[in-house]
Amino acid sequence: MPASQNNIKLLTGNSHVELSHLISEKLNIGLANVTAFQYTNRETAVIVGESVRDEDVYVIQTGCGEQNINDYLMEMMVIMNALRTSSARRITAVIPNFPYARQDKKDRSRAPITAKLIANLLQTAGCNHVITMDLHASQIQGFFRVPVDNLYAEPLVLRYIKEKYNKDDLVIVSPDAGGAKRVASIADKLDVRFALIHKERQRANEVSRMVLVGDVKDNVCILIDDMADTCGTLCKAADILMDNGAQKVIAIVTHGIFSSNAIEKLNLSRLDKIVCTNSMPLADKLQKCPKLEIIDISPILAEAIRRLHHGESVSYLFNNAPS
């Protein structure tokens, strides 16, 4: 008897339907008829409209929303639980921006390690595999007992820089010491110089004093970070770079959260341009911020899904960007 057919099913939560559609177009697979909704009492439920028995299911949901990040999280777990109940063979959570990734350590007494909790909750809900992108700390992979594919936006960023900028007068800058490794790797691959901004941080989301290490005079500076939240760091970094004689400053980040008044800050800042991926929905912010530019990550996610489904190696994607 031949093995039963094992098809891909793509599902989307409500957090970032646009990205799901892009992935679905790239893979040429429609989104499955599974709909998450809320009752009036705000409990989440999901209507499963087609069979997923013995299928290889991918649930696309990103961590976003200042008011409803927890709704989307519950939604993802409800969907995965429903899929498990309906005998899906393998459930893969595709989470471009992993929620609660920054709460990954017990940095003060009685602080919750929420990233670990989320990892446990996702596994409890029935997730067998996780695809994510540029985890804030790659150690979060260790919080899971299931395989985690942490993809990198780096190849896409490299391509973007190569296409747009002349590498002769380029300096890659890390806005904090934590990102030095990421920035050094990009600078090596582009064969350009890199600089570092050291910041003394008193509290989260608050930046106090910054010191530039390296020379940026008359150069185009590219600030690279994994996420831009309130953008305080980026704006201050841009100030420092401009004060030190930079020609212009561009910021490239993977996850553009842009919470609270980040967009206004960016508009007023001395940043020439801010580039981020569409790991989170940004359509309204694009309209409000003329400096914002988007790199599409759907090809990399789609290719990762395709490779995972066919049992091919995903590590190719760490260094190469599919188009």
Partner: protein
């Protein structure tokens, strides 16, 4: 009390305060907030090392937010070396996951939140459904504009929900589900606004060709179903590290079986019983009524305990074949059947046959005081419909006794205009705004004493079962 720590979530701070006062203990300091990106942040101020921690969080308000908050607090206490963490959930979230729908899009909560001037309390069971366009006019958003909606994330609470639904409208693959939801909404609007009934019937007929019925197998032969998340919630609580759960009047007693940890299910029955005995004049003469067959057992046990009569309202929805004509005018027909009074209304099903909805009262309530007993009122459709049927059958006065008053959507407005003369509920969920809106019509019973006593007994290792019968 030594080594006892009581923490409260943001869902119901008044209840936490009240419980702490009764326990004569200080509520421990927790800073609950949000990071700028929306993630929940928890800071537990006092030490919990080797303490017996109780975390009080009700399943009300922004349920998912509150639930995640609870999970994070449990995990934080566990990582901070708490000896035992007990989740106290006066109203258990997701406990009333509706049944797998047998004839409708969904059972559960319909979603009209707009305030209406008139309500009809037809005796036809409604067809509650997911978010539909009826309450909100979305216009026709162009495809792929969802980012606008979902990323902004800020706004009034009421805007969050339609936003998520709006997102769905663009998904072509889900069109059939949406259509079904639309159709269901029209079914409702047909019933509820009689003026428009003709027009919506026409629309129904128009839609009938392209609609696919949820109850019917679709092209692939797959029957749509709606997830039930009871086990998920239980598993998540255990994963977060809860060692014990205390809750009240679980909708399904089987819920306890979903857990591998002890679950103490307290009962509000003694409190409700005391209310009947203390406040209802001539309570021996009243009739206890269950608004649906599912609650019959709960209602009979109260009727037995105080020694009064019992009646039952039964609703059913049956598809009657071979009636392809236009539907008869919706509305109660008040026929007298063998079993008792029943009222029927029929709704045209796009598949050509009629869906006959019957609500039947079993028992006699003429010239009697009726006490409706239910465990949870959400949209209030069931209970207001039941109250109307009772008044139609000659009931003098209708009390409604409900353990958990969720009152989502426009439930409060419905109740205000309904035949319910007095609504009694508990403060397992915050009732402040509700009682402001309903005034004297709403009586709130305090459950903090029962919960506090349960906490005290659990902490001291005493038996909790005594609370089941006597209350506190």
């Amino acid at each position: 009390m030594r080594n006892l720590v009581v923490l409260g979530g943001t869902s119901h701070p008044d209840l936490t305060k009240s419980i702490c006062r009764i326990l004569t203990t200080e509520e421990s300091d927790v800073n609950i907030g949000r990071f700028s990106n929306g993630e929940t942040s928890i800071e537990i101020q006092g030490s919990v090392r080797d303490k017996d921690v109780f975390i009080i969080q009700s399943g009300s308000g922004h349920i998912n937010d509150n639930f995640v908050q609870l999970l994070i607090m449990i995990a934080a206490c566990k990582t901070a070396s708490a000896r035992r963490v007990t989740a106290v959930l006066p109203l258990f979230p997701y406990s009333r996951q509706p049944d797998v729908p047998h004839a409708a899009v969904a059972t559960g909560a319909p979603s009209i939140t707009t305030k209406k001037d008139t309500y009809t309390y037809e005796s036809a069971p409604s067809t509650p459904r997911p978010w539909t366009k009826s309450g909100f006019d979305f216009g026709t958003p162009p495809p792929f504009n969802l980012g606008v909606n979902s990323s902004s994330g800020i706004g009034a609470a009421g805007h969050i929900l339609p936003k998520s639904f709006r997102a769905k409208q663009d998904k072509p693959v889900e069109r059939s589900g949406e259509r079904a939801a639309e159709r269901a909404s029209e079914r409702i609007s047909e019933r509820s606004t009689e003026r428009n009934s003709e027009r919506s019937t026409e629309r129904l007929v128009e839609k009938s060709e392209k609609s696919c019925d949820l109850a019917k197998p679709n092209d692939s032969g797959y029957k749509k179903w709606i997830s039930q998340n009871g086990t998920l919630i239980a598993n998540l609580l255990m994963t977060a590290g809860a060692d014990r759960c205390v809750t009240m009047d679980l909708h399904d007693p089987q819920f306890q079986g979903f857990f591998n940890i002890p679950v103490d299910n307290l009962y509000s029955k003694p409190l409700l019983k005391h209310y009947i005995i203390d406040y209802i004049p001539n309570y021996q003469q009243c009739v206890i009524v269950s608004p649906d067959s599912g609650g019959a057992k709960r209602a009979t046990s109260i009727a037995d305990a105080i020694g009064c009569q019992f009646a039952l309202i039964h609703k059913e929805r049956r598809a009657k074949a071979n009636s392809s004509g236009p539907p008869s005018a919706p509305g109660p027909l008040g026929t007298r059947s063998a079993g008792g009074f029943s009222s029927t209304s029929s709704v045209n099903n796009p598949n050509g046959h009629q869906l006959v909805a019957t609500t039947m009262l079993v028992g006699d309530v003429r010239d009697r005081v009726c006490v409706l007993v239910d465990d949870l009122v959400d949209t209030s459709y069931t209970i207001t419909r039941a109250a109307k049927l009772l008044k139609d059958q000659g009931a003098l006065y209708v009390y409604a006794l409900v353990t958990h008053g969720v009152f989502s959507g426009d439930a409060i407005n419905r109740i205000a205009k309904s035949s319910i003369d007095k609504l009694i509920t508990t403060n397992s969920t915050p009732q402040k705004t509700h009682s402001e809106m309903l005034g004297d019509k709403l009586v709130v019973i305090d459950v903090s004493r029962v919960l506090a006593e349960a906490i005290r007994r659990i902490h001291n290792g005493e038996s909790v079962s005594m609370l089941f019968d006597h209350g506190w």
